[in-house]
Structures are given as structure tokens and as C-alpha cells.
Amino acid sequence: MLFAPVNLELKPRQLALLSGANGTGKTTLMEAIAGIRLLSAGQVQFSDNNSHTWQHHSHYLGHKLGNKGALTCAENLAFVAQINGLDVTERELSALLASAGLAGYDFQQASDLSAGQKKRLAVCRLLLLNKTFWLLDEPFVNLDHAGCDWLFQLITAHLDQGGAVLITAHDQQNITALAHHHITLEPA
């Protein structure tokens, strides 16, 4: 066992902050909740009984950003939209990129972007897929001041619209202030 048992009930419009020292298993827990790692004990439940799979309602943004370097920004987003059965126009994608501060980068390959810009492109997916539950693993890393403000506004707007967020973030005072739950992982 990696960390001592934790329990969390997250309601709409709530944000939970996950913290713990390096190596306590924050990312492991995030990945397990996201569904890309097996839980050795415990479970994740979504209260809406109509939904069989929890993954349909969540989107995970982790350390591996998921951008394909050889594809352009617009192609990266179009792929994510299509693989999730969404129909989006080129103009919508362009507007989305512009809102992320990536105006004019539509036809730029993702490998040419800076680390912060890559993160912005990955954050665009959250807006594109519009899932109820956001799992954000250190989303502020690599973002500049303006980027951090932008992402913070997205998170508050998402909460206002009835969404929920589970987040790990170091040194983010405003996120700490926003958190309804604060979970600290302790080594088992």
C-alpha cells in the first residue's frame, strides 16, 4: 500500500485539493481515479446511477499532456473531439485556441510550442470535452502568470456551472482558498 486510506465525497460546485509530500502517491491516486491505473483497494463511485462508467464524466489532465508533436494544434484538438464523438468546426477550434492565448498557432505543430504553450493546448481539451469532473494533476506547472490567472478563472467558472474538480497544486494560494476539501496523503 502506497498511502494511508483516504475518503472523499465530492459534490457539484466543489473543489478538492490533494496534497502530500513528493512520492506519497498523488499522481498514482489521480491516475487510478481517472481509470488508467488499477486500484488495489477501494473504489470510485459516480452518484448518477444511469452512468455505468465513471470515465464518461471526467477528464484527466496529467503530466503526460497527450499532445501529438507531429500534429498541429488544430489537428490535436480535432482528433480529441472526433474520438469522443463531437463535431466541431475549424472556426470553433480556432476560437478555442485564441481563448487559450494560442491565436495564430492553429497550423503550428505541437512540437514547436514552448512548454507553457503545450500546457495551454492540453487545457483546451478540458473546455472542448466539457466533462463534469476535472482531474488536474499540477495544472499550473509551466504556465506564466497570465496563464495561471486564465486557468484559475476556468476552474472557478467550471465550479459555477456545477462542475467538480480534484486538483493537486503546489503554492497556489487562491486554489487553497477555493478548496472545499483538503486531502493530505500520508505514507502508509
Partner: protein
């Protein structure tokens, strides 16, 4: 449709990266030039060994392209995007294997006559060579998917893929090279080609499910 979305993406990525496209062909060309040097032989000896050499080259040159089939997606995180989407995983595997065949298998098929010519393959065998490779290269891609998925989270998985996949490929080599050999002797290659077709059907039905299971094991 999701299948075509993933297929198109992989073909596009391979096209932009280029190296995956010509690597097998350069490999084949380099190795085939070694044969006359090593054998020091005339056209007759080369013609005799040509069915086997063309086939082994096609097989080995495909083998070196397997490593990145799933590893790249695993490392950049784009695998999570289709793994967590509504798309069924075996279907995603089939799309990726088909994209691999389009970007690696088809060039290998088209290049084989050139290799055959360099080795003085008898004229009457070129048709059978193309046909046998057309049946076999999709099998290569599907078997490669299994090996690639099993080793996607290893740093140096390339060697391990060969060890895992080559034994599975040996029947394909036997029937494929056998078909070409029969045709050089003027015999019918039908039996060998039908066996290849059987292998292809088996690979299409079993490999996607097996690969999906391998991905699940490695992710979870």
C-alpha cells in the same frame, strides 16, 4: 467514425515524421547489396536464394519499425485519450495496426520487386511475390502490435519485441517464401497462399483482442 479518426491520425503522424516510411526500405537496400559481395556469386546462385532473401528482408525490415507502434502514444499521453474514450480498445488497436500496414507494409510490398530484380528473381515469380507479401504484411503489422503493446513501457523493448514476435512470424515466412520458391520451380503456389490467407484471418481475429489485453496490463 472513431476508427478512421485514429487511422488517419497515425498515417498523418507517420507521413510527417518520414523516417518510419523509408527506414525499412533503406535497410533492405543496404542488406541486399551485401549478398553479392558475400557470396561472390553469379546470377544463378543469387536466383536460387532470392525467394528466401527477399522474404527475410521484408520480415526483418518490418520488425525494426514495431518498437514505436504504441510506445510513442504511451509516452506522450495520447494513448490515454483513446483509452478513456468510448472507442473500444481492440478497435483502436486494429486502426493503429492498419495505419502501420499502410505506412510500412505497402512500401515494403511496392519495394519488393526491386529487391527481387537485384537478386535475379525469375520473371515468372514476381506476381506470386507481390501476392504473398500482400497477404503477409498485414499479419506482420498485427503481430507487431502485440509485441509493441507488451513492451511499450520498457526503455529498451526493441530486442524483446523480436524475441516475442519472430517465433510467431516463422509460419508466415515458411508459407510466404515457400510460395515464391514453388513459383520459381514452375509449380503452383496455391496451397502456400491459402495457408497465408488462413494466418491472416487468424491474426485479424486474435491479435486486436490480445493487444488490447496487453495494453490494459501495462497501463494498470
Amino acid at each position: 467514425m472513431r476508427f478512421w479518426t485514429l487511422l488517419r491520425r497515425d498515417v498523418l503522424v507517420a507521413w510527417r515524421k518520414k523516417s518510419g516510411l523509408y527506414q525499412p526500405l533503406v535497410f533492405q537496400l543496404l542488406v541486399v547489396t551485401m549478398f553479392p559481395l558475400g557470396l561472390g556469386a553469379g546470377a544463378q546462385t543469387l536466383a536460387k536464394i532470392s525467394p528466401a532473401v527477399v522474404w527475410i528482408l521484408a520480415l526483418l525490415s518490418t520488425l525494426i519499425t514495431f518498437e514505436h507502434l504504441f510506445k510513442d502514444d504511451y509516452e506522450d499521453g495520447s494513448m490515454d485519450l483513446y483509452y478513456l474514450s468510448d472507442m473500444s480498445l481492440p478497435m483502436a488497436v486494429l486502426a493503429k495496426a492498419m495505419a502501420h500496414w499502410i505506412t510500412t507494409g505497402i512500401p515494403v510490398i511496392l519495394f519488393a520487386p526491386i529487391i527481387g530484380m537485384l537478386l535475379h528473381l525469375p520473371n515468372q515469380s514476381f506476381g506470386i511475390l507481390l501476392l504473398s507479401l500482400a497477404l503477409a504484411t498485414p499479419i506482420f503489422s498485427l503481430l507487431g502490435a502485440v509485441g509493441s503493446a507488451l513492451t511499450m513501457n520498457l526503455r529498451n523493448g526493441g530486442m524483446l519485441i523480436s524475441v516475442l514476435v519472430l517465433p510467431l512470424m516463422s509460419p508466415v515466412l515458411i508459407f510466404g517464401a515457400g510460395a515464391v520458391l514453388e513459383s520459381t520451380l514452375g509449380n503452383s503456389a496455391q496451397g502456400h497462399l491459402l495457408m497465408l490467407l488462413g494466418c491472416l484471418v487468424l491474426a485479424i481475429s486474435l491479435a486486436p483482442v490480445t493487444t488490447a489485453a496487453a495494453i490494459r496490463i501495462n497501463l494498470e
